[in-house]
């Protein structure tokens, strides 16, 4: 792939002007994190410092999700651990942009980047058992639910399970009809 640009959106670096919107995502209990409620009092500066500190390390990335018309609709991140072997991804988009295919295309772009350009063997994501949108999206993309940690999240006054979903390298290529050319086989 030549860039992280799809039909609907592109992934790009975050800019100072993005943090007002990122802060609103962080401060909305429906969009802030995968299994944990955070106090909805983050300022744009706090988010900026947090993301810059966390993602300045190697083998990590954070991107703004921008429509082709130039509208920021969310952000996406990943980290590799170990590098070129396993990656964990996460994303958040504004509620007004749900159901438009932005999250799906964002994930597809980062998956292609991780599998094709970084060569990782497995991509993982974490969510909670009540997050049907994320679970549905992950399944559509080809993720399997590989682990269910019981009652390990608290949301809406109730315990929920935490799910770890993953997709192996060969599952990604096969499900998309792509040829896997690294030939790394250690089964």
């Amino acid at each position: 792939m030549d860039n992280l640009v799809g039909k609907l959106i592109r992934l790009r670096s975050l800019q100072d002007s993005d943090y007002d919107y990122i802060a609103t995502l962080r401060n909305d209990l429906r969009t802030q994190a995968w299994n944990q409620r955070l106090p909805p009092c983050f300022t744009p500066q706090m988010i900026k410092e947090h993301l810059e500190e966390r993602f300045k390390k190697e083998n990590r990335g954070v991107f703004g999700i921008e429509t082709r018309e130039g509208k920021l609709v969310g952000y996406l991140n990943y980290h590799e651990d170990p590098p070129r072997f396993a990656a964990t991804v996460g994303l958040s988009t504004g509620i007004g942009y749900w159901g438009k295919g932005y999250a799906k295309e964002s994930m597809e772009l980062i998956l292609r980047f991780l599998y094709e350009e970084r060569g990782v063997q497995v991509v993982r994501l974490w969510t909670w058992s009540g997050n049907e949108r994320m679970i549905g999206l992950a399944k559509k993309l080809g993720f399997l639910t590989s682990a269910t940690l019981r009652e390990s999240s608290i949301l809406k006054g109730k315990p929920f399970d935490t799910l770890m979903m993953d997709m192996l390298r060969e599952e990604f290529f096969k499900s998309r009809g792509l040829k896997e050319e690294l030939g790394v086989s250690r089964k």
Partner: protein, 189 residues
């Protein structure tokens, strides 16, 4: 057996200090290279680490305020292993791990360290669900967790590479109610 903080009639769990690094280094450079590398989240489990590398890894781990690292001592004051406790993501659902040096295994020390840590998680703090990730090749660890009433929670596919093959990790978890029920059954003294 009455729990007194992180101490029982059998073991004591204390902080790790510089004096323990040499022993950890010896095992990481020897028969526990793979296990200790996993424990220290070192990306090159085939490679021997220097004392300074081990110290740097520990310091990095402890930068997170809610990551805890302990040494385990026998009542005879022998340094017999390590334990970590990770609540940095969520104090409600921490992870932990215990490693006992080979010559001290099969003496009940791992079981006792696990009991003390679960006691701290469930009865001295707000822990509700405690999880462990164990590599599939650690058969003794898997058998041990099952014997302690941990439930298999799933698989982390492709956790690492060993002997030319990918290996998976298995998640296990235990809930506070299950831990308390185990006590009420008299499984633990």
């Amino acid at each position: 057996m009455r729990v007194r903080g992180l101490s029982s009639d059998k073991i004591e769990i204390r902080s790790i200090e510089e004096q323990q690094l040499e022993r950890i280094h010896k095992y990481q450079n020897g028969e526990l290279r793979q296990e200790l590398s996993e424990f220290l989240e070192y990306n090159f489990p085939w490679a021997p680490m220097s004392i300074n590398q081990i110290k740097a890894k520990i310091d990095e781990f402890l930068k997170e305020e809610r990551n805890l690292l302990f040494g385990i001592w026998s009542k005879e004051n022998e340094f017999i292993g390590l334990a970590y406790y990770i609540a940095s993501w969520d104090t409600w659902s921490p992870f932990f791990s215990v490693i006992i040096w080979p010559e001290y295994r099969r003496k009940g020390y791992g079981s006792e360290a696990t009991r003390l840590i679960l006691e701290a998680a469930f009865n001295q703090s707000i822990g509700h669900a405690v999880s462990v990730l164990v590599p599939e090749w650690n058969l003794a660890g898997i058998a041990f967790l099952e014997s302690q009433d941990f439930k298999r929670a799933g698989t982390q596919r492709r956790t690492g590479i060993i002997d030319g093959k990918f290996y998976d990790g298995f998640f296990f978890d235990i809930l506070r109610d299950e831990y308390l029920s185990r006590h009420s059954r008299g499984v633990d003294p």
